[in-house]
Symmetry: C2
Subunit: 338 residues, 2 copies
DNA sequence: ATTTTGTCAGATAACGTTGTCAGATTCGAT
DNA sequence: ATCGAATCTGACAACGTTATCTGACAAAAT
C-alpha cells in the first residue's frame, strides 16, 4: 500500500515544475509539445490521478453531481441513475446519490446535502423536480440543477422531459383505434406533475373522438400497485364497466390487472389495460402490458451533460430539452368484446 | 448566494481561535464547557458545515463510501443502496454509487474509482463480492471493504451474509412438508456465489427426505426472467414433470410461472413455484410468490456501519456477520395435486 | 512560596491542487 | 545587434481544514 503519486512526483519524474504538470493535465495552453508529451508519459508511468479533494478545495468545484430522488419506484430510479452515471464517468465526474424524504422539510435536507458535499450540480427527479421550496434553495445556494420531467415552470430553468400530454393522447388513441369507447382512467398521484398532463392528454383524445369518460370511470390513484388495484375493483365491479382502463403508470396498471383477475375478467379479452412508463414489470407480466416508454436513461444522460457543461461555464444550447416517447403496444390491449 | 461560512467565521463569532472550533466540532477533549457551548451556538447560528474537501485533503479521509455493483436486478440494488445510504447519512458520510462492468477488467475499473475519489471504503455487492481480482486490488490499495453475501473466503475479510444454504434447505422443507416429492430446481448464475449454496441446501433437504432430484429436474439458469422461463418450459413439458419447482431467485421463479401459464398449468393447483429474494415483484405477482426474504437493506446498513467504524480505526466486533433470513410462504405453493 | 502537573487554548505547518504574477526564453522585426 | 512581443516556465500564495507543538494558566504537591 504505497502512497498515491502526487503532482510533484510527476513533476520530478518529467523534470519540470509541478505547475507545468498542472497546466498539461488541465489542457491549458503555453506548454511546448515536447514538454507536454514528457509530462503525459510521466503521469501515465506513475498512473497518476489528481486528488479530487485538493481540486475541490481550491476551485470550489467538487466534480461531484448529486442525484436527488424520492421515488419508491425502483426501476425508475435505477435506470435514471445508470444514465447519469454513464455520462459522469466519461467526464471524470462522480455521482452522489441522495434520497430525500419529501414528507419532511425538503429544503432543509437539500441544503444539508449541498453544503456538506459542495456539489457542482444536482439532478432532480420527479416528484421533487416540482417542489418549489427545493428549487428555491438551489437557486439561493447558486447550485446548478436540471429537473427531470417537471410539470410546472418549464421556462424557469433547465429541465428534460417528454410530452406527457401527447403521450397520453397517443396511448388513448391506440385504445380508441382498437374500438374502445368506454375507457376508464386511473389518475396519478396528485403531487406528481405528470399526473395532470397525462389526464389532459387522455381527455383531449376522448374529446377528439366525441367521447367523455364518466365520473365513475375516473378514479384517483397514487402511483402504487395497491391504489391501482382498488381503482380497478371500483371500476370493474360497477354495472357499466369500461372495456378498457388506462392507468397513469405501470404499477397502477398492474394493480388493475390483479383486480381484473380477482374478478374473473380475462385480459385483454374482456378488458384491455394500459399503463405508462414501460417498467421492467410491464414486459414481464402476463399478459405483457401496453404502455408508454419514457427514455429515462437518456433523460438523465442529457441532464448530467447539461450540468457538466454548466459547471464548466458553458452556455446550454437548449435549457428545456424534450425527448421522444414511444408507444409500446403489447398483449394487454385488444379490441373490445362483442 | 453568499459564501459558505468557514471555521474562521465561527471562530470570530465565538471569539476563540479557529483551532478551538475545530476541537469542539471533532469532539476532542480539553475544551472548557462554557467555551464549547459558545462555539456550538455560533456554529449553529451561522449554519456552519465543514468543507468535506478540506477535511479529505488533510486527513486522507474523504468521508465517502463507495457502493459498487454489477447487478441487473433493480430492486436489489436500490434496496441495498437505501440501506447503506441511511447509515451513511447519520454518520455524516456520503455514498458514491459506482456500477462496474464485470465483463471487462474489473480490477482496473475499481482502481480508477478508488484513486480518483479516495474512498474511505467500499461496499461490494454480489456478484462482484466474489471477484478475486477486485478483492486483490482493494487489498493492494489498502481500502476498507465489506462484501455482501459472498460465497468464497468468508474468513478472508469483513462480510455480511445470510445462510443461503440453510435458507434453501428451509424452503425446500416447506415444499416437502406440503407433500411434494418430485421437486425441480432452477440453478442460479454460475458466477454468483450464492448459487452453489442454494443448490446445496436444496440437495440436503431432498436427501434428508430420502429423495433426489433427477437430472432432468435440475436446470441451469442465469438469474434472469428469460432463463427461468426456458427452464420452466423444459421441466414442465417433460413426461414426468415435477409437482413443484424451486428457482434460485425470484426472477427465474416468475419466468417459470410464465412458462406454466403458457403451458396451461395452474399455479399452485397443478404446480407449485417458489423463489428466493422476496423482490417486490414476488409480492405483486399473481399468485403471489413463496420465497425467501433476504434483509438486503439491513445487510447494507451493517456493511456501512462496519466501514465507518473501520475508517475511524475501530476494531470490528465481528468481521463476518450473519443475519437472519425468513421464509415467506405465499399463494404460489400448495399441496401437490391428486 | 515554589515547583510540578495537568488542563485549556492558540500559532503555525501541513495536505495537493490551481490561480497569479513575474521571470526566462524564443522569435521576428527593426 | 537590439528591441518588443509572444510564448513558455516557475515561484509563491491561496483554499479550509486537522495535526503538532508551544504557551498560559490554574490546581495540586512539595
Amino acid at each position: 500500500m504505497s502512497r498515491q503519486p502526487t503532482i510533484k512526483d510527476v513533476a520530478s519524474k518529467a523534470e519540470v515544475s509541478f505547475k507545468t504538470v498542472s497546466r498539461v493535465l488541465n489542457g491549458e495552453p503555453h506548454v511546448r509539445k515536447e514538454v507536454r508529451e514528457r509530462v503525459l508519459a510521466a503521469a501515465a508511468a506513475l498512473d497518476y490521478r489528481p486528488n479530487i479533494a485538493a481540486r475541490g478545495l481550491i476551485g470550489g468545484r467538487s466534480r461531484l453531481i448529486g442525484f436527488l430522488y424520492d421515488n419508491p419506484n425502483y426501476s425508475y430510479v435505477t435506470e435514471a441513475e445508470l444514465g447519469a452515471l454513464q455520462v459522469c464517468r466519461e467526464a471524470g465526474y462522480h455521482l452522489a446519490v441522495e434520497p430525500v424524504d419529501s414528507q419532511n422539510d425538503v429544503a432543509r435536507q437539500i441544503e444539508q446535502i449541498i453544503s456538506s458535499l459542495r456539489l457542482d450540480g444536482v439532478i432532480m427527479t420527479p416528484p421533487i423536480s416540482d417542489d418549489a421550496s427545493a428549487m428555491a434553495v438551489l437557486d439561493r445556494l447558486g447550485v446548478a440543477h436540471v429537473r427531470i420531467a417537471p410539470n410546472a415552470a418549464r421556462e424557469s430553468g433547465p429541465c428534460v422531459f417528454i410530452d406527457d400530454e401527447a403521450a397520453a393522447f397517443a396511448l388513448t388513441r391506440h385504445l380508441l383505434d382498437l374500438g374502445h369507447q368506454a375507457i376508464g382512467f386511473v389518475l396519478g398521484h396528485p403531487d406528481h406533475g405528470a399526473s395532470a398532463l397525462r389526464l389532459a392528454g387522455f381527455e383531449r383524445a376522448m374529446a377528439s373522438a366525441g367521447l367523455q369518460a364518466g365520473a365513475d370511470h375516473m378514479v384517483q390513484g397514487y402511483f402504487t400497485f395497491e391504489s391501482g388495484m382498488s381503482a380497478g375493483h371500483r371500476m370493474l365491479s360497477g354495472a357499466d364497466r369500461p372495456t378498457a382502463i388506462f392507468a397513469a403508470n405501470d404499477k397502477m396498471a398492474l394493480g388493475v390487472m390483479a383486480a381484473a383477475r380477482e374478478l374473473g375478467l380475462a385480459v385483454p379479452d374482456q378488458v384491455s389495460i394500459a399503463g405508462f412508463d414501460d417498467t421492467r414489470a410491464a414486459q414481464i407480466c402476463s399478459p405483457s402490458l401496453t404502455t408508454v416508454r419514457q427514455p429515462v436513461d437518456a433523460m438523465c444522460q442529457a441532464a448530467a451533460d447539461m450540468l457538466i457543461s454548466m459547471s464548466a461555464n458553458e452556455d446550454l444550447a437548449d435549457p428545456a430539452l424534450q425527448l421522444d416517447f414511444e408507444i409500446r403496444a403489447r398483449r394487454s390491449t385488444a379490441a373490445p368484446p362483442g
